[in-house]
Amino acid sequence: MSTPTILVAGTPETLADIGTEYVPASTPTGPHLSAIGIIRSEWIKLSTVRSTIWCFAVLLVVSMGLAAIMSLALDLTGTDIATVPDTDQARFVAQASTFGVFFGQLIVAVLGVLAVTGEFTTGMIRSTLTAVPKRLPALWAKALVLFVTTFVVGLVSSIASYVVTVAIVSGQGLHASLFAPEVILPVLGGSLYLGLVAVFALGIGTIVRSGAGSIAVTLGVILLLPVVLQMIPATWASDVLPYLISSAGISMFGLMQFAKVPLDWSVDLIIVLVWVVLSLGAASVLLKRRDA
């Protein structure tokens, strides 16, 4: 900062610019608050902070890296690839392509938390809420934008991971089409789960408001809760396990199973949705009620 920036505010002549459209009666006929506008605003907000770019970049790199590691570790020596059924080949490719979701859920959880706690900790929330004083439309728009963006980036990183996987394992004769149901469904399911986890974290962030606190709570629910339950020897613990957001989310696209009798993917999806609805529901009540 060797050269100080000298700011020259508008001269009195330019003051006239403010009032060009001004009608003293103040009857706004022109632009006004709209759902599309609020969504666009939230998109601008999400896409213009570095944390979003970093989180998505890390998601992409980690996802592709894990796919590469898993593919490279595959050793088919002594196996006649011709005897391996197509569905088993496809399952391996799907696992490698979606393995990143296991870590990706932590990344998008942080992203979801930061998307709202960044506003609370900087005071930006006051600007947001004066622009959208009914408050809830801003939360819904934020959730929608976050979900769609995370889903798309999740899909892109899963497909990129698929490409990496196929490039490596085809050397050993393994093949699977992206559009084989064994591949495309997990890829879609994994991306869907990532989008939902981000929204779940958004809710926690709105409830807790502090960045560090929200990340602790969210990662606690996603990461710690399953580990703790698995360590408890009682049967109730293993009964509860499949109903956690991360257990249901991961079994939803077939990476791992936590229930003794595997739940249908639609049941898993409902479980994840219930977590999201609880988090976002509590967030909406508190956002509406609390002083900002």
């Binding site: 103040s26 506008g37 666009r40 900087t122 005071g123 600007s127 809420l129 004066t130 009914k134």
Partner: protein
């Protein structure tokens, strides 16, 4: 137009705003004045729905702020310069705000130019000085070309040029028929900018009147007279409603009679005058006398009427001005600043 009716806000057991009523008229600059903790910011936050009143109501153009169809186009608000994400550039911040109301991009560029932020608009707000943050806050408030502007301490952190710019801007906006509400504990700023003052103390309104009237309440005009025959003049003027203070051997400070009357009487009695000066009480004097019992956070030690507002340099300067016994000189110093 902003109307409040028995507006009340409590934080726990502490009453921040205590059943206040006021109407803020268009076409004027209304100053919300009061010591720190008097409830200025809380009142403003309730107007724009950031704080929910515990009882009472406040309406903006006859509607609750939450019910406005285009809030940003009716009310522009600057509550504090830090209500902005530090990781985003000024332009992107304004674009995001504008997007909610479908306000065109050209308007964003207009307010950036108007507030003199063009050269830094694409830099992240985290690196901004307090003054630049304040300009960005003002830019955001002007974004919707609103009929009502609510600005909490708008000159805080601005350089003298910026202070003057904000002052002109406020006057200009009110001149166009807009409603301008600004808060400050800087008397000099209020005296120069506001037409009407609402003075708050401990959450209550202690005065709600035009600036001239508030100053009048502080004791009215004083006249300073310098004469070699000061004692004779003092005896001559001695009446029930006139008070004469002998400041120096040949200087009198007189209240309750106009300079013209003093001149006439002195001439009739053949008394030579070396100086005859009308001194108007300043807003500061009025403020001090009105808020004497309302100051919540008083600095200990000096025993003087000093406020705990040394957090800004302007406030410190104000406090220094405050010690000056001559109200006229106070005005001069303000003009010089």
């Amino acid at each position: 137009m902003i109307q409040a009716q028995s507006l009340t806000k409590r934080y726990g057991s502490k009453v921040a705003v205590d059943a206040i009523d006021f109407t803020i008229q268009p076409g004027t600059v209304t100053g919300l004045l009061g010591p720190n903790g008097a409830g200025k910011t809380t009142t403003m936050r309730m107007i724009v729905g950031l704080d929910r009143p515990d009882s009472g109501s406040v309406l903006v153009n006859g509607q609750r702020y939450q019910d406005l169809r285009a809030p940003l186009r009716e009310v522009g608000v600057l509550l504090d310069a830090k209500a902005i994400h530090t990781g985003r550039s000024a332009r992107n911040h304004l674009l995001a705000m504008a997007a909610t109301h479908n306000i065109p991009k050209s308007r964003v560029d207009d307010v950036i130019e108007l507030t003199g932020l063009t050269s830094v608009a694409r830099k992240r707000v985290g690196g901004y000085s307090l003054g630049m943050g304040q300009r960005l806050g003002i830019a955001a408030a002007l974004l919707g070309d609103p009929g009502i502007l609510i600005l909490d301490e708008p000159v805080n952190g601005l350089d003298p040029e910026g202070v003057q710019w904000v002052r002109k801007l406020m006057r200009h906006l009110a001149g166009e028929g807009r409603t301008v509400l600004l808060s400050s504990h800087l008397m000099s700023e209020m005296a120069l900018t506001a037409d009407h003052i609402i003075m708050l103390g401990r959450g209550r309104i202690i005065a709600d009147a035009p600036v001239a009237e508030i100053i009048g309440q502080a004791g009215g005009a004083t006249v300073r007279v310098r004469s070699p025959h000061a004692t004779r003049l003092a005896t001559l003027l001695a009446q029930a409603e006139v008070s004469v203070v002998n400041l120096e051997q040949d200087v009198l400070q007189i209240t309750g009679i106009t300079a013209a009357e003093i001149g006439d009487q002195a001439a009739a009695a053949g008394i030579v005058l070396h100086e005859l000066t009308s001194l108007t009480a300043s807003l500061e004097d009025a403020y001090m006398s009105l808020t004497q019992n309302e100051v919540e956070y008083r600095t200990g030690g000096t025993g003087d009427d000093e406020f705990d507002d040394s957090d800004t340099t302007d406030a410190a300067a104000d406090a220094a001005v405050n010690d000056d016994p001559d109200p006229r000189e106070t005005e001069l110093q303000e003009a010089a600043r």
